[in-house]
C-alpha cells in the first residue's frame, strides 16, 4: 500500500536541505529550471515574526530552505539574490490544521461475489485505517497553488474515504520536484458518515462500529503480545484494520474526528471519554454552545475556515409581514452569532487552528476578514493560521514563526495582511519563492473590466428552480458604455418553447450582479428580480418571483471563442 520511496524521510522531521529544490536536481539541469541560487534576502520589509508582535523594519535572509537571520545588520553572502521589500509586509506562512488540498479520492474497490450488505469487508464499508493521505496526494493538483496563493505553506492532508478514512500526513505546499513530506501517520481521520446500503449505514451504526473496532484492536494487541512470548498458543487473527488502529489505541496518534455540529462534537467527545484516545475535532461549523465541553475534553480544535452563506439574509425583504419579520430576525441573529463564533473560542481561551477541507481557497481571506470584523482579534486569527497549528501538529520547532533556524515559510503581502485591499505578492515555501500577480487597487465603479471588477458581458446559460419545476435559458448581457443591457430567455409559462424578455436595472457592484425582467403569463405581469454573486464565470443568485417567493438561480458564462481583448 505504501510507497517505499516515502520511507526515506518518514517518522521524523526531515532536515529540509535533504529534499530542498536544489539538492533534488542534478548538477546539470536540462530543464533550465534550476534557480541560480537558493540564497535570498528580502530587504527592509515590515516583518511580523509571530502573532502579537508589532511589525519591524528588517531584512530576512533565507538559505537552504531555512531562515538564516532576521534583522537590520545582516551580512549577506555573495550569492544572495535580493528582493527589495521596502513596500512589503512579511508574515509567517500559514499552516492548515487539516486540508483536502491535492487529495483525490481512491476508487472504491469492487464488491466481492459473496458480498453481504449486513457484514461487508472493512475496505468496502469505509474502514480503511491503513490508507495514507500521502498515497492520495498530488503536489501537481491545481488546488495546491490555489491554497498557496492565499498564504498556506504547510498542510495536514486528510485522506478521503468512509468512517475511518486513514492516516493524515503533514506536507509542504512546495516544489513539484519534492515529496514535500514533513511527517507521515500524524492522525487517524474519522467521521460519522455511514456507508451507503451496507453496515454501518448511519451515524448510530458508525458509533457502534467504531467502538467494536477500537475494542478488538486492543484485544488483538493483547493476543499478539501473548503470542510473541508464550509457546503453544493459537495464532491471533491480525487484520490490516487492527494493525493500523494500534497507533490510536496505544495513544501514539490522535483520532481526528470531523464534527461540524454541536451534537457531533459531543458524540466524538463521548467516544473519547469512553475509550480514552487522543482527540482532534475538525471541520467545526457550529460550536458556540459547546465551548465548555470542548475545553473540558482537552481536544484540539480545527475550525472550518468558512463563514455561512448569506443568501437567506440577502433574500429578506423590508415589506415582509410581521410574522415573517420575526422569523427573519431569528435567522439574522443566528447568522450574526455564527460569524462571531471564532471570537468566542478566543474569549474562552481555546487555542484553535483551521481546517480547509471543503473550503474554496478563493473565499478564505474574505472569511478571515469577516471573522475579524466580528470581534476575532487579528492576533488570534494569525495565531490560528501559524503558531496554533504548529503546536497542534507538533511543528513548533520548525514552523509557525519567523525565526532563525525555522523553515523559510513566509507570506509577502502588499499591505497589512488582513486589510481589505491587501494582496499577497510572494509566498515562500521551504525557501522557494512563488510569485503571484497583484492587481492595481480596485476603484468603485459600476462596470468595466479594466478596473478590476468582474466580467459579466456575454451569454450566460442558467438553470432555475421553482415549485413549477426546473427552468433553463440564456441570459445575454451586453456592455453599453458604462452600463449594461441585455435579454433573457425562459420557459414560456403559457405554452411550450422559450419566451424572451429584455432585462432592466442591471447593476454590477463589485462582484454582485442584479437585474430584473417581466414574465407575462395568462395576462398577468410578474416582475422577477435576480440578485447574486459573480465569481470566475459562475453566477450564484436568487430570483424572487413577484409574491411567490425566492428561488435559486445559477448561471455559467459561456466562453467566447474569440479572445475578448
Amino acid at each position: 500500500m505504501k510507497k517505499p520511496l516515502l520511507y526515506a524521510g518518514v517518522f521524523c522531521i526531515m532536515v529540509s536541505g535533504l529534499f530542498s529544490y536544489t539538492s533534488a536536481q542534478a548538477q546539470s539541469d536540462p530543464t533550465g529550471k534550476k534557480p541560480i541560487t537558493d540564497t535570498y534576502a528580502i530587504t527592509n520589509a515590515t516583518v511580523f515574526t509571530s502573532p502579537g508582535q508589532a511589525g519591524v523594519k528588517a531584512t530576512v535572509l533565507i538559505k537552504d530552505g531555512l531562515i538564516q537571520g532576521v534583522g537590520s545588520n545582516l551580512t549577506l553572502p555573495k550569492e544572495t539574490k535580493t528582493i527589495a521589500g521596502d513596500s512589503l509586509f512579511i508574515y509567517p506562512g500559514f499552516i492548515a490544521g487539516a486540508s483536502d488540498v491535492g487529495i483525490t479520492r481512491p476508487k472504491d474497490p469492487d464488491r466481492p461475489d459473496d458480498f453481504v450488505s449486513s457484514n461487508p469487508p472493512d475496505e468496502i464499508a469505509g474502514i480503511t485505517p491503513w490508507r495514507s493521505a500521502v498515497d492520495q496526494f498530488s503536489i501537481k493538483d491545481s488546488k495546491v497553488d490555489d491554497l498557496r496563493k492565499v498564504g498556506f505553506t504547510v498542510a495536514q492532508i486528510t485522506p478521503d474515504g468512509g468512517m475511518i478514512a486513514g492516516k493524515t500526513a503533514i506536507i509542504l505546499l512546495g516544489s513539484e520536484n519534492s515529496t514535500n513530506l514533513l511527517k507521515e501517520n500524524t492522525a487517524l481521520a474519522a467521521n460519522f458518515r455511514g456507508s451507503r446500503g451496507m453496515y454501518p449505514g448511519t451515524a448510530v451504526g458508525v458509533m457502534a462500529k467504531f467502538r467494536e473496532v477500537y475494542d478488538n484492536t486492543k484485544l488483538t494487541s493483547e493476543r499478539s503480545q501473548k503470542y510473541s512470548t508464550v509457546a503453544g498458543l493459537k495464532r491471533p487473527e491480525i487484520t490490516p484494520t487492527y494493525s493500523a488502529m494500534q497507533e490510536v489505541t496505544s495513544g501514539q496518534i490522535p483520532v481526528m474526528f470531523t464534527t461540524s455540529s454541536e451534537l457531533e462534537i459531543r458524540r466524538a467527545i463521548n467516544l473519547q471519554k469512553e475509550k480514552g484516545f487522543k482527540l482532534v475535532l475538525t471541520g467545526l461549523e457550529e460550536y458556540e454552545g459547546v465551548l465548555d465541553v470542548i475545553k473540558a475534553s482537552g481536544a484540539a480544535v480545527l475550525v472550518k475556515l468558512e463563514i455561512p452563506d448569506d443568501k437567506a439574509i440577502k433574500a429578506m425583504k423590508d415589506d415582509a409581514s410581521e410574522e415573517v419579520k420575526a422569523l427573519n430576525a431569528r435567522v439574522k441573529k443566528a447568522y450574526d452569532d455564527a460569524i462571531a463564533q471564532a471570537s468566542k473560542l478566543e474569549e474562552a481561551g481555546i487555542p484553535f487552528a483551521f481546517s480547509t477541507v471543503g473550503v474554496k481557497s478563493g473565499d478564505i481571506m474574505k472569511a478571515l476578514q469577516k471573522m475579524i470584523e466580528n470581534s476575532l482579534s487579528e492576533e488570534a486569527a494569525l495565531a490560528a493560521l501559524t503558531t496554533n497549528p504548529a503546536s497542534i501538529l507538533g511543528l513548533s520547532k520548525v514552523a509557525g514563526s519567523i525565526e532563525k533556524g525555522k523553515m523559510a515559510n513566509l507570506i509577502l503581502s502588499t499591505d497589512s495582511l488582513f486589510a481589505e485591499d491587501s494582496q499577497i505578492k510572494h509566498v515562500v515555501v521551504d525557501g522557494i519563492i512563488f510569485d503571484y500577480e497583484t492587481k492595481p487597487k480596485k476603484k468603485a465603479s459600476t462596470g468595466g473590466n479594466s478596473d478590476g471588477s468582474v466580467k459579466i458581458d456575454g451569454n450566460w446559460e442558467y438553470t432555475s428552480e421553482s415549485p413549477a419545476g426546473s427552468g433553463t435559458g440564456v441570459l445575454a448581457i451586453q456592455k453599453d458604455g458604462t452600463s449594461y443591457t441585455g435579454t433573457i430567455t425562459y420557459d414560456d409559462p403559457s405554452g411550450s418553447g422559450k419566451a424572451t424578455a429584455p432585462i432592466s436595472n442591471v447593476v454590477l457592484d463589485g462582484s454582485s450582479l442584479s437585474f430584473s425582467f417581466t414574465v407575462t403569463a395568462n395576462g398577468m405581469e410578474i416582475l422577477v428580480n435576480v440578485t447574486g454573486e459573480v465569481s470566475e464565470g459562475s453566477y450564484d443568485a436568487t430570483m424572487s418571483v413577484g409574491e411567490f417567493g425566492s428561488f435559486p438561480f445559477n448561471g455559467t458564462l459561456t466562453p467566447t471563442l474569440i479572445a475578448n481583448k
Binding site: V116, S117, S118, N119, R196, G197, M198, Y199, P200, G201, T202, A203, V204, G205, M207, A208, R211, E212, D215, N216, K218, L219, E222, R223, K226, Y227, V230, G232, L233, P236, E237, E262, L263, R266, R267, N270, K273, E274, G289, V290, V293, P308, D309, D310, K311, A312, A315, M316, E323, A326, L327, N328, R330, V331, K333, A334, Y335, D337, A338, S550
Partner: protein, 461 residues
Amino acid sequence: MKKVNYFLAALLGLSIQFASAQVKKGSVLIKNATVLTVTEGTLENSDVLVQDGIIKKVGHNLNAPNGVTTIDATGKYLMPGIIDAHSHLGLDVVNEATSPIVAEVRMKDVVNPYEVGIYRALAGGVTISHAMHGSANVIGGQNATLKHRWGSTDPADIIMQEAPRTIKFALGENPTRVHGRGNGIQPRTRMGVEAILRNGFNEAIQYKKAWTEYNAASSQKGSTAMAPVHNERLQILSDILDGKIIIHCHSYRADEIYMLINVARDFGITKLVFQHTNEGFKVAPEIAEYTMGASVFADWWAYKFEVYYSTAYNAAILTENGAITSINSDDAELIRHLYHEAAKTQRYGGMTDEQALSMITINPAKQLGIADKVGSIEEGKQGDLVIFEGHPLSSYAVPQMTFVDGVKYFDIKEDADDQRMKVSPTEMVEPVMVYGGHDSRCMQDTEHLFETTESLFLLNQ
C-alpha cells in the same frame, strides 16, 4: 485483579459520564386541584407539593415552604405527566437498517434535544417518551427513555438515566421487506424472523460461555488463555437473556406475537412488551400471562396488509384479560393528544376513567420499568405533572401547564409563536420533510434499501 473485564470498565465509564449530567430540579405547590392520582383515586380540592423534583406531599391546606411558587389550580385537573411508550422524537437517526440484528447500536448516541417536537409533546402533557430505534430489523438498537426537559442542550440531560435499558425488536413485514426483499438475505419470511431470533440467542449463549471460560481461566496464575473476539452485538443479546434489558417488539399479527412468546419462554425471557399489537386481542390471555403487556394505538390500522385485522376494542379487550396495556403515539403529531387517544377506550370498550388514564401513565411506566418513579401522583415519585382545563378524558380538555421534576416547561399563557431552540443561519424556512403514510419514522433512513425492490416491481408491471 489486573484482568478486569473491560466491558465492565466501559460500563462504569458510561455511568460516570451519565452521573455527571446536571439536571434541573424544581419546587412548586399546586393548590385546590382535582387530583387524578391514577393509582390512589381522585382527590377533590387537593394540593400537591413538589420539592427538589420529588412529590413531597399530597393533601389539603398545604403551605408553600419559603421560596416555593404556589399555583392556584381551582377548578382544574391535575394528572401525572403522560408517558408515551413508543416514540421517535428527539432522535437524529432512527434506523440502522443494514443488518437483521443491530443490538449494538444505541439511540442514546443520537439524541437531539433541539427537536421542537419535544416542546409540542409537552404542550400535550407528555413528560416522558420512549425514543425507539426503528422497525427495520428483527433485533434493532437499544432505545432511550427521554424526559422532556426542553431547553437542555446536552443530550444526556434529557435522557432518563435511571430508566432501565430497553431494546427494539420487530416482526413481520418491515424486517422481511428490508432484508429479504430489499437485500436478498434472511429473513424473507416470518419463519426467517424466528430463525434469526433463535440463532441470535443461541450464538449469544455461546459467546457468553466463551467469555466466562476465558475470565475464569485468565484469573489462574500463569494463564495462557487468549481473549475471545469482542462482539457487542452478542453481548447485548446475552444481556437480554440475563434479564437486564426489556424487549419492546413491533408486532401486528397474533401468530407472530405468539411465536415471540414461545421464543421468549424457550430462552427464559420474561421482560417483553409488544408494540402496536393490533391482533393482540386474539392472544390477550397469553400476553397477560407471559409478558409485560402491550402498547397499542387507540384506533389506527390498515396502513399495510398485516394491519387490516384490527379493532378499536383492542385496548379494552387486552385490559379485561389482565394484560398491562398502554396507548402510544409513534408519531410527533399524535403525541400531542394522547389523553384524547386514551379517552377512545371509553367509547370503544367502556373503560373507567382510571383504566383509561392508566394507559397513558402508570401502564407505560410499568412497561418501561419506571413505575416506581413516575406514572402516578404519589408521595416520593418524581414531580412530573400536568394541569388540565377540563377533565383530560373530555373532548374539551386543554393542557395548561406541564412540569418535569417540578420544573415548569410548558405554560399555555407563555406559549410564544416560535419555540425553536435553534435556527439555521442559512435557511429562510427550514426544509420540511413530508413523509407519507404510517411507519414514516419507524422506517426512516431505509428508503434507499427499497430501490432494488422498486425497480423489480417496475420491471414486473
